[in-house]
């Protein structure tokens, strides 16, 4: 990376993020403008598959909040995925993935944690959301900061490390070999958004699920007396 590019890096990151947002908005228009067909074609199939995954995850978490949770997770996932995939482009400035710059990933992690607080405020009220940040111990806030750090550092390390390896290899062996490294780099480019979204979903479930502990215990008490007598005599019979 030349000195001028390093000097302009923050602006490049902002430009690339805006570019990704533009691409995503265009894709959203393309996929939602026409009527959903009875027999889906390729674009509709891909869109439905992505949407279904997030809707299923949101339904597991909170059946009444699918319309809030699924778009949040899906937009995070698609945004990070498309930012990572910028590294495959062959234009000089655009091929710097904005997630290989620490400020970019820190922003994404902060957006995720602030979004979690807002969504939990919607379900549990503002006091409940703030209580989650400081309960049962005021030091809980440090755990929240740790979550932000781990989310951002993981994404930065994977994508930025990959980008650095590509740059170093391209310096020593400019022909042929960078292609292999790029192809290998596609694996973290797809796995890291998944991991980011899954961990965000876990934190979100932690933030909005606290009140529902009591009904679960009742269900367990109903189930256990039915299960035990059927399983125990069989085991004893097998042993003797």
């Amino acid at each position: 990376m030349s000195e001028a590019v390093r000097h302009l890096m923050p602006y490049i990151v902002i430009f690339n993020f805006a570019l990704v947002a533009l691409v995503l908005i265009t894709l959203a228009f393309v996929t939602t403008r026409r009527k959903p067909a009875e027999v889906p074609d390729t674009i509709q199939n891909v869109a439905e598959y992505v949407l279904e995954w997030f809707v299923r995850q949101a339904r597991e978490m909170r059946p009444d909040g699918v319309t809030v949770i699924a778009p949040f997770l899906a937009s995070l996932f698609l945004f990070i995925l498309f930012s990572n995939l910028l590294s495959v482009m062959s234009f000089p400035i655009i091929n710097i993935p904005p997630t290989s710059y620490y400020s970019g990933t820190l922003t994404l992690a902060l957006i995720a944690m602030v979004g979690i607080t807002f969504i939990s405020a919607r379900f549990k009220g503002v006091s409940g959301a703030i209580k989650h940040l400081f309960w049962p111990n005021p030091l809980q806030i440090i755990s929240q900061i740790g979550d932000v750090l781990s989310l951002s550092l993981r994404l930065f390390g994977n994508i930025g490390g990959e980008f650095m390896v590509v740059l170093l290899v391209a310096k020593t062996a400019p022909y042929g070999i960078p292609l292999i490294i790029h192809a290998l780099g596609l694996i973290p480019a797809f796995i890291q958004p998944t991991v980011f979204t899954l961990l965000t979903a876990n934190f979100l479930a932690e933030a909005i699920h606290i009140e529902e502990k009591r009904p679960r215990k009742e269900i367990r008490q109903e189930v256990t007396p039915v299960e035990l007598p059927s399983s125990e005599p069989v085991r004893k019979g097998k042993l003797t």
């Binding site: 993981r154 930065f156 390390g157 994977n158 490390g161 899954l198 961990l199 876990n202």
Partner: protein, 75 residues
């Protein structure tokens, strides 16, 4: 002389952690693949759980990578 020793510090930071993480990942993937072959019907859930567990292990390596990069930038 001191600079020569400083060159080794990033390497020595990341290599033991990478070895340890490789062992941890071996154990995770071993357990996950064994579970998938025994019960293919829950393979998707096992795969997501494996991804999360691997990400948690990987985070430790990446902390060390960041520290190594910080040391390397000082040299």
């Amino acid at each position: 002389m001191q600079a020569i020793f400083l060159v080794f510090i990033p390497t020595l930071t990341i290599v033991p952690v990478a070895i340890a993480a490789a062992f941890a990942m071996r154990k995770i993937s071993h357990a996950a693949i064994e579970g998938m072959t025994r019960q293919p019907e829950i393979a998707p859930q096992l795969f997501t759980a494996m991804l999360v567990a691997m990400a948690l292990v990987e985070a430790l390596v990446i902390y060390c990578l960041v520290i190594a990069l910080m040391v390397a930038a000082k040299i």
